[in-house]
Amino acid sequence: MSADPHTDTHGAAVDTHGHDSHGHDAHGNGCAPAGPKRPTTEELIARKAATRQEIEPGADLMTISIGPQHPSTHGVYRIVLDLDGEIIVDGRPEVGNLHRGIEKLCENRTYHQIVPLTDRLDYIASFAMNHGFCEAAEKLMGLEVPDRGRYIRTIAHELARLSNHILWLGIHVMDLGTQTFFCICFRDREYILDLWEMLCGARLTHSFARIGGVAKDLPDGFEYRCRKVMEFLPKRVAEYERIVKNNRIYYKRAKGVGVFTAEDCYAWRVTGPPLRSAGIARDLRKDEPYAAYGEVDFDVAVEYNADVYDRFLVRMKEIRESCKIILQCLDQMPDGDFISKDAGHVLPRKSEVMRQSGAMIQDFNQVFRGPQAPKGEVYRAIEVPKGEMGVYIRSEGGGKPARVRFTTPSFYHGQALPALAKGEMIADMVAIFASIDVVLGDCDR
């Protein structure tokens, strides 16, 4: 498996910039500046044309349906493809098999009760969804989160990103034919889930964010274990890269496949790693900082070839950056409250509810009436592992929102699949679909 990608000629489009030029690059830190040659948008479009097959007009098309119960569709996504031989001419995605009416439910719940519902959007990185909703609700209510709460949120959000990207990597590579690697990724994701278990008791649906802060302070011993995990994860990423990055089979399946330029990404609202793999350093953690992202030092992972392979590279860089962010947050962790003391909008600490009458009244008010939000509407977007997630809230005043809309990345990524896969071979659709990272809970809401 020590193939040298230089000998590869996949289509007319092989250009290897610094990262993948040598088989022994796996020990590098992965965030080195990109190599000398960066393709321009015109070159990317030319490449796209070169890798994509000519479709004969008037050809006899075959229509097949993939999904909703198909391993490569990562859930209950269905796409109906028109094929000319093995070439995808057109496709029609069908979603909604997992629709649970979460937005309708939100209109009938208090703001605090909505937080557990957001877990069920993107259940792979559920804290990111909690966080997005709480940021929007705090913007609506004009709440300030205490420093310690902001730092804990940052750590939790990056843990969600790590668990998402590691799971993604296992599934993506499994879709392309290797089973063992999936188990390797699950082994390492287990360490993240153990940290989650320490943090809030849950491993999948955390509901850890609260309006005004987080549910609990960091438990004893968390910092030590978290540091240990963050110190060895980059070594594991190097191992992943040794296994995957220079693997001839993976390289051939991924390089130059599914080219989607920045303009395409904007038109189809494809954000997150696919956009950053097209050379755009767009990351809301940097561009519109929230939580403690403005106070830590990290790089935005960018690649330039806009294909499946570069989306993989972007995510590997993001894992390393997440580890850096978490270690910095642990170093800089301020003392103080982890949740705001604003009695009008925030749930009191459970330890106080049974002992202090003020906290008991506050708890009663918050649970039954909900936090009293002003009349108005807000939109808040944050960078979740899969892309940009926005929450729109319209409030008529009172404890329940009048309208909530979750603008989730998978909804748009799933929609864009035919545009990404048009002209590609049907086998490449699997690689392309995995590379844009769709979770159907996130898509169907």
């Binding site: 069908e94 909604g96 309708k104 038109a267 603008t407």
Partner: protein, 163 residues
């Protein structure tokens, strides 16, 4: 008032019915007739350059009897990094032009707004139900639709519709 709002008010004047700035979110309201024109301007003008439609959503405000429905577009510009919300108020059954020609990503959003609220879109390539089943009756996100629902569902069998 920012340069962004200046550019828009200079171009449309009194056709911008209302402007708002709540918690830093800039908002404009337009008439349904100006919907496509304003959004086209927002995308193409040099001072606005909204290259991405962040989301497009429907809304139901039964207390606003004259125009109980609303359509909200959240725009974002990667050139300037600014955001804008464009709103329009609609009556029951009123249709607006589709913006899928400006941003293809509006396709699913408009289908969702149609199936959930019954807001029509003219010029949409395939305005069929998206998240609910094809035989679903009613518009579930309307405020008068019961939370627990009304009917069961069936799997869609027609695969030939053009998306």
């Amino acid at each position: 008032m920012s340069a962004l709002m200046d550019a828009i008010t200079a171009a449309f004047g009194a056709r911008i019915l209302e402007t708002g700035d709540f918690r830093g979110d800039l908002t404009i309201s337009v008439a349904p007739e100006a919907w496509l024109e304003v959004l086209t301007f927002c995308r193409d003008n040099e001072a606005t350059k909204f290259d991405m439609l962040d989301c497009l959503l429907g809304d139901h405000l039964p207390e606003r009897a004259a125009a109980p429905f609303a359509l909200v577009a959240q725009l974002v510009s990667h050139t300037y990094g600014h955001r804008l919300r464009v709103k329009t108020a609609l009556t029951e059954g009123q249709a607006v032009p589709s913006v899928t020609s400006l941003w293809p990503s509006a396709n699913f959003d408009e289908r969702e707004a149609w199936e959930m609220y019954g807001i029509g879109f003219t010029g949409h390539p395939n305005l069929i139900r998206l998240l609910t089943t094809e035989d679903f009756e009613g518009f579930p996100m309307r405020k008068d639709f019961p939370l627990e629902g009304t009917v069961g569902g069936r799997v869609r069998t027609d695969l030939r519709g053009k998306i």
